[in-house]
């Protein structure tokens, strides 16, 4: 497991879990947040703010359903607008959770144990927010089931050659498997809560949710196998989801979209924005809940490093996009790059370069990687930058494509912003409920990090 490795001072930033913790103390600390901690005013205030933002979603969605998608800023030529920008942004944020829970599990990175539950919850909520947009964008969400292949009286079937249908399969599979993976991980911890609480109603609720888990070695053996299999399947799944999302663009013939670099570039961008969001949420949570001994500097440092690495991949993607435009020798591709850099939306392009390429360079410094405050600000800037990236990709390609006679401009309306900020409200609202009602750290995996958890068989007498 996590043998302490001898590292030189300039690299080593601390242990995965602070010394002094025992099997019982981690259980009580993490479980106690749910069972014993009083509901604080700060939590109530945050929940109210998030709930207020959520009302923006309700109001905007209601108005949208009354009037139709015309209340948004979309029109010809920019028919996609905020709906797709936000969809891609949210889906991307979700990807860090799966990366932490699945890929880092396969790579045996034990530091993930303290953050995977939270990151997976973030994935679930982000995918819920993402799913909102295509469904609302159809204009008639009550007919969304038409997207699924089922025998119907219209004798119609969906088109299996369309990336938009692939999206339906990819996103629903992603949501389902993420939820299953998350719940399977919760079962042993729910059993811990069931056994730790003295309130009968909590014993009943956690008892039923934990399915009567009793920690049997025969169960653990199958459990570990199932977790590994789920991780093994979630890993290609997460890559496939953002690949399919990028196909929405890359399969079309629009200048700037029709490039082969889109799938890897989108996947890297997704992990980049996802890690930034994990940092944005984790830094305040570890502070407010006093979890600095469990989510240590080592975690922040590692997450900052992943953020920096993916920032460099994304930067490579930007360079290649511009190079492809030039190298294609295609007048429309070349114009698209030129228009992106000097046209009416150029300010967004340069802001995105600043947010996504220049800002993360600070993460080369260990001092910045280990200062939570600065790291938090950088993570916010990256979140904004990744949103701008999707804005630039969607809008600059569409608003001036081939014929100047069909060019146009795009501007979002207040209802675009209402839905967008509304989903942020939904996301935060769910996060607030999650940290209050469920153990936000995987307790049983935390135990495996402790020195006392290692098997040292007594010498035979």
């Amino acid at each position: 497991m996590s043998q302490p490795v001898e590292l030189p001072d300039q690299i080593y930033v601390g242990p995965v879990i602070d010394e002094g913790h025992s099997l019982a103390s981690v259980s009580d600390k993490v479980g106690g947040i749910v069972l014993k901690r009083k509901t604080t005013l700060g939590w109530v205030f945050g929940l109210i703010v998030a709930f207020g933002l959520l009302q923006a979603l309700m109001a905007s969605a209601t108005w949208l359903l009354i009037k139709g998608v015309g209340v948004w800023g979309i029109n010809i030529p920019v028919g996609w607008g905020f709906a797709i920008i936000n969809f891609v942004w949210w889906i991307g944020i979700g990807h860090a959770g799966t990366l932490i829970s699945a890929i880092l599990l396969l790579l045996n990175q034990s530091w993930r144990n303290a953050i995977n539950r939270f990151a997976e919850a973030m994935t679930l909520f982000a995918v819920m927010c993402a799913g909102m947009f295509p469904v609302l964008h159809t204009g008639r969400p009550w007919l969304a089931y038409w997207l699924l292949p089922y025998p119907n009286t219209m004798a119609l079937w969906p088109q299996f050659r369309s990336p938009l249908l692939w999206d339906v399969f990819a996103v629903t599979t992603y949501l389902t498997i993420s939820a299953v993976f998350w719940f399977v991980g919760l079962i042993p911890d729910l059993a811990t809560l069931r056994d730790s609480t003295r309130k009968p109603w909590q014993q009943k609720v956690f008892g039923m949710l934990s399915m009567g888990w009793r920690g049997s070695a025969r169960h653990w053996q199958r459990y570990e196998k199932a977790s590994l299999l789920l991780a093994g399947m979630a890993t290609p799944l997460v890559v496939s989801v953002h690949t399919v999302v990028s196909f929405d663009f890359a399969v079309s013939m629009i200048p700037g979209w029709h490039t082969t670099i889109f799938p890897p570039y989108f996947v890297a961008g997704a992990i980049y924005s996802g890690f930034a969001m994990v940092l944005t949420l984790m830094i305040p949570v570890r502070k407010f809940y006093g979890l600095e001994d469990i989510i240590t500097m080592r975690h922040l440092n590692n997450m900052a490093k992943v953020t920096l690495a993916t920032a460099l991949i994304v930067g490579y993607g930007y360079i290649m996009e511009a190079f492809f435009g030039y190298f294609s020798a295609d007048v429309y591709e070349r114009f698209m790059v030129w228009n992106r850099m000097t046209g009416p939306y150029a300010v967004f392009y340069y802001t995105l370069i600043f947010c996504n390429i220049i800002t993360p360079q600070f993460l080369w410094a260990k001092r910045i990687r280990t200062s939570p405050g600065i790291l938090w600000i950088i993570s916010i800037i990256v979140n904004i930058g990744m949103w701008l990236e999707r804005f630039v990709i969607v809008v600059t390609s569409l608003h001036r494509d081939f014929l100047p006679s069909s060019w146009g401009m795009y501007a979002p309306t207040i209802w675009d912003f209402g839905v967008f900020f509304g989903t942020i409200g939904l996301f935060l609202f769910l996060i607030f409920l999650f940290v209050r009602a469920l153990p936000m750290i995987t307790i049983f995996e935390l135990r495996m990090l402790l020195p006392g958890a290692r098997v040292k068989e007594p010498v035979a007498q």
Binding site: S27, I177, V184, D195, M211, L230, R447
Partner: protein
Amino acid sequence: MSVQALETVHTLYGIMAEFETPGHLVAAARKVRLAGFKKFDAYTPYPIHELDEAMDLHDNRVSLYTLIGGCLGGIGGFSLASWVQSVALPLNIGGRPLISVPMFIPVTFECTILIGGLTAAISMLLLNGLPLPYHPVFNVDRFVDASRSKFFLCIESADAKFDRDNTVSFLESLNPVEIAEVAR
């Protein structure tokens, strides 16, 4: 089985021993298996891989079922796409093939993962006999620590070698912290 033994099986689930460290538990589990017991189980707050060897656990059915589930999902996804595009709603677009394999790969892949993943989770739960909210081991008071910090081993009365007194003295020889009878 004698009448007395049958009566024991009906009132007594087994004898449970508690251990302080995972090392003691693994050593004890190995001795219990080598002593010839079949129906016994260890209870731990986190997975201990050394127990797989000590208790000789090698159930690979979850993997097998997942493989079958994944294959069925993949075949199902591809068949659905092919059937829809060639039988249910064939669209002739410039004479292109109706079963256009590369375009069906994403759906095939997603269906493989969806059914495979669901099979992994559901088969794990069912093979473990869960959900099962009540179990006799919960009758032992100190067992609440099995999900927190302590390690337990229970020899079940249904085992052919089980004998109330001999089993207790056998478990006592394994350095437990405490021994308890598990009522049904």
